[in-house]
C-alpha cells in the first residue's frame, strides 16, 4: 500500500505533463482538424465554430503548396538520411579500426557541432553561403568558379549540409559505442578466417551493429520530417524558400499567418500520420530483412 503511494508520488509530475502538454494538445489538434471558425455576414457577425468533417483535410491535400512541401521533405530525407547514416558509420568504423591516430581528439572534434544550437549552426552556414561574407565563395571565385549556394537547385543540398554538419558526430559516437561492444573473439575469429580490415568492417562489424543503425535511422527520419529551423532562417536571405517550403512551415504559416486553425490542425495530423506510418514501415522492413 505504502509502495503504491510512493510510486504515484514519483510518477505524478511526469504524468501531469504527459496529460497537459502531450495528450490534450494531440487530442485538440485532431478535434480542431474537423472544425472551422465561420464568420457569417462578411466577417462582421459573431464567430462560431462549426463541424466541417474532412473539409480541412481535403483542402490541405488538394493544396499544391502542401503537396510540394511534402515532396520537398521526402526528397530531403532521401538525400540526407543515406549520407548521414553511411557517413557516420564509416567514420565510426575508421576510428574503430585501431589505425586512426588521436582517436579521442578526433571524436571530440567531430562531436563539437552538436553543442552548437540548431539556429546558430544555420546562421554560421548561412553566412558561409552568403556572397561577400563567405570565404568559401571567395576562394572559388579566385579560380573563376562562381558558387551559388542559395539557388533553386542548390538550396536543398545546402540545407542537407547544415543538418549533416550538426549531427554527423553525434551519430558517429552512437555507432562507435555500439562497435566497442562487439565481442573481440568474433573479430579475432574473422582474422583467423582470413578477413582483411575492409572485409571485416563491412561483413562482420556492420551486421553486428544493425540495432544501432536502425535506431539512428529512425531518429534521423523523425527529426528530418520536422524540417523547420534551417529553411526558416535561410528564407530570410533567399527567395527560393517560400513560407510553405516544408510541412512544418506550412503548419506555422496556416496557423499564425493565415489564422486558419482548422487547416493548420489538419496539416498537423497529416504530418503526424505520415511520421508514424514511415517509422512503422521502416521498423517492419528492417525486421523482415533480419528474419
Amino acid at each position: 500500500m505504502k509502495g503504491k503511494l510512493a510510486c504515484a508520488v514519483l510518477m505524478a509530475p511526469f504524468l501531469l505533463l504527459l496529460v497537459t502538454v502531450f495528450l490534450i494538445p494531440t487530442g485538440t489538434a485532431i478535434w480542431l482538424s474537423f472544425f472551422a471558425q465561420d464568420q457569417p455576414g462578411l466577417g462582421f457577425g459573431p464567430e462560431s465554430t462549426v463541424f466541417v468533417g474532412v473539409r480541412s483535410y481535403v483542402a490541405v491535400l488538394s493544396d499544391p503548396t502542401f503537396r510540394g512541401g511534402l515532396l520537398t521533405v521526402v526528397l530531403y530525407c532521401l538525400i540526407y538520411i543515406p549520407i548521414m547514416v553511411i557517413g557516420a558509420l564509416a567514420l565510426a568504423l575508421l576510428l574503430d579500426s585501431g589505425v586512426a591516430k588521436l582517436r579521442g581528439w578526433a571524436q571530440m572534434g567531430l562531436y563539437l557541432p552538436h553543442a552548437v544550437p540548431g539556429i546558430i549552426a544555420a546562421l554560421i552556414w548561412l553566412y558561409l553561403y552568403t556572397p561577400g561574407l563567405s570565404p568559401i565563395i571567395d576562394l572559388f571565385a579566385r579560380g573563376d568558379i562562381h558558387l551559388n549556394f542559395l539557388g533553386i537547385n542548390t538550396v536543398l543540398p545546402s540545407i542537407v549540409n547544415i543538418a549533416l554538419w550538426s549531427n554527423l558526430g553525434y551519430n558517429m559516437v552512437i555507432f562507435y559505442a555500439a562497435l566497442q561492444a562487439v565481442p573481440r573473439e568474433v573479430l579475432e575469429a574473422s582474422v583467423v578466417d582470413g578477413a582483411g580490415p575492409v572485409k571485416q568492417a563491412v561483413r562482420i562489424k556492420t551486421p553486428l551493429v544493425r540495432g544501432a543503425i536502425v535506431t539512428v535511422g529512425i531518429f534521423t527520419l523523425i527529426w528530418a520530417l520536422q524540417l523547420f529551423t534551417e529553411p526558416v532562417l535561410l528564407s530570410q536571405s533567399t527567395p527560393m524558400i517560400s513560407a510553405r517550403f516544408s510541412p512544418s512551415m506550412y503548419i506555422y504559416d496556416a496557423a499564425f499567418t493565415r489564422n486558419n486553425y482548422g487547416l493548420a490542425a489538419a496539416a498537423s495530423v497529416i504530418l503526424l500520420a505520415f511520421t508514424i506510418a514511415l517509422s512503422y514501415g521502416v521498423t517492419r522492413w528492417t525486421n523482415r530483412k533480419a528474419a
Binding site: V9, F14, L18, A100, L110, V116, L133, L168, A178, A255
Partner: protein
C-alpha cells in the same frame, strides 16, 4: 594494415574533423572583424581587430536586449533542464522499480510521445496558453520543455543499471519509507544519470526555437535563439547587424561547448545508454 591504408584512414578522419571544426573557427575569426573587414574577407589579417568593439556593440545594441535574452535562455535552460531531469528520473525509476497495471502500455505511450513532432503540438499549446492567459509569458515556454519522454526512457535504463534491488530491500528492512529511500539512497546512486539527463535537456532547451517563436511576442522574453533570428532578419537590410549577430552567436555557443568539454563522460553515458539497448 599497409602504410597506404593507414594514411588513407587518417586522411579521411582528418578531412571530416576539418569539416566539423572550420565553421566554428570561422565564427571565432569573424567575431574579431568589423563590418567592412567582414566583407573584405581576408579572415586571417589582424589589421582590423575589433573584438572588443564588437562585444561592446553587442551589449549596447537595441538598449542592451542581448543580455536580457541571454538571461532568459539561462533561466529557461538551466532551471528547466534541472526540473526536467528530476521529473524524468523519478518517473523512470518508478517504471523500473514498481509494478502496476498497464505499466508497459503506459511506457509504450511514453516512447510514442518521442515520435510526435513539436510542430503538431505547437498550435494546440498556443491555444491552451491563450485560453489560460499564459501566452507571451515566461511559463508558456518554460512548462512544455519540462516534458521529456526520452528522458524517462533513459531514467528507466539508468535505474536498472545503477540501483540494485538488494539495496532497496535492505533499506526497507531498516524501516525506511519508499520515498525516503528514493531521495536518500537511490537518487544518490543515480547522480551521474541525473547529470546526463540535465545536459541533454539543457541542449534541447537552449536549442529551442519553434516554441518561443509561437508563444512569445514580447522581445524582452525572447531566448537568445529567437533574438538572433530576429536580428539576422534586420541584418539583411542594415549590415551593421552582422558583427552583432556573429558575436551574439559566439557567446551563445560558448556555455554549451564549455559544458560539453568539462562533462564529456556524462554525454557519452547518455548516448551509449540510449543506443546500445
Amino acid at each position: 594494415m599497409t602504410l597506404l591504408g593507414r594514411t588513407t584512414v587518417n586522411f579521411v578522419v582528418g578531412v571530416a574533423v576539418l569539416y566539423t571544426l572550420l565553421p566554428v573557427l570561422w565564427l571565432l575569426l569573424a567575431s574579431t572583424k568589423n563590418v567592412d573587414a567582414l566583407f573584405q574577407s581576408d579572415l586571417l589579417s589582424l589589421s582590423n581587430f575589433s573584438f572588443v568593439d564588437n562585444v561592446e556593440e553587442l551589449f549596447a545594441m537595441d538598449k542592451g536586449l542581448y543580455s536580457r535574452w541571454y538571461l532568459n535562455s539561462v533561466l529557461y535552460a538551466v532551471v528547466g533542464a534541472a526540473a526536467s531531469a528530476f521529473i524524468s528520473m523519478a518517473a523512470g525509476y518508478a517504471f523500473d522499480k514498481y509494478a502496476f497495471r498497464h505499466k508497459e502500455k503506459l511506457f509504450g505511450l511514453v516512447l510514442a510521445a518521442v515520435m510526435v513532432p513539436q510542430t503538431v503540438l505547437a498550435l494546440p499549446l498556443y491555444l491552451m496558453a491563450s485560453g489560460t492567459g499564459l501566452v507571451n509569458t515566461f511559463w508558456a515556454v518554460f512548462i512544455p520543455v519540462l516534458f521529456n519522454p526520452f528522458g524517462v526512457y533513459l531514467g528507466r535504463v539508468f535505474s536498472q543499471g545503477y540501483v540494485p534491488d538488494e539495496v532497496l530491500e535492505a533499506a526497507r528492512i531498516d524501516g525506511a519509507g519508499d520515498l525516503a529511500t528514493y531521495f536518500r539512497v537511490a537518487l544518490r546512486m543515480l547522480g551521474p544519470g541525473l547529470v546526463t539527463l540535465f545536459l541533454f535537456q539543457l541542449t534541447a532547451i537552449w536549442n529551442n526555437f519553434f516554441l518561443p517563436m509561437v508563444m512569445l511576442s514580447d522581445q524582452k522574453l525572447y531566448p537568445v535563439s529567437l533574438g538572433l533570428y530576429q536580428w539576422n532578419s534586420s541584418a539583411t537590410v542594415s549590415p551593421e547587424y552582422y558583427p552583432v549577430v556573429i558575436m551574439g552567436s559566439l557567446f551563445a555557443v560558448l556555455p554549451l561547448i564549455l559544458a560539453f568539454l568539462l562533462l564529456q563522460r556524462f554525454w557519452r553515458a547518455g548516448l551509449t545508454a540510449g543506443a546500445v539497448k
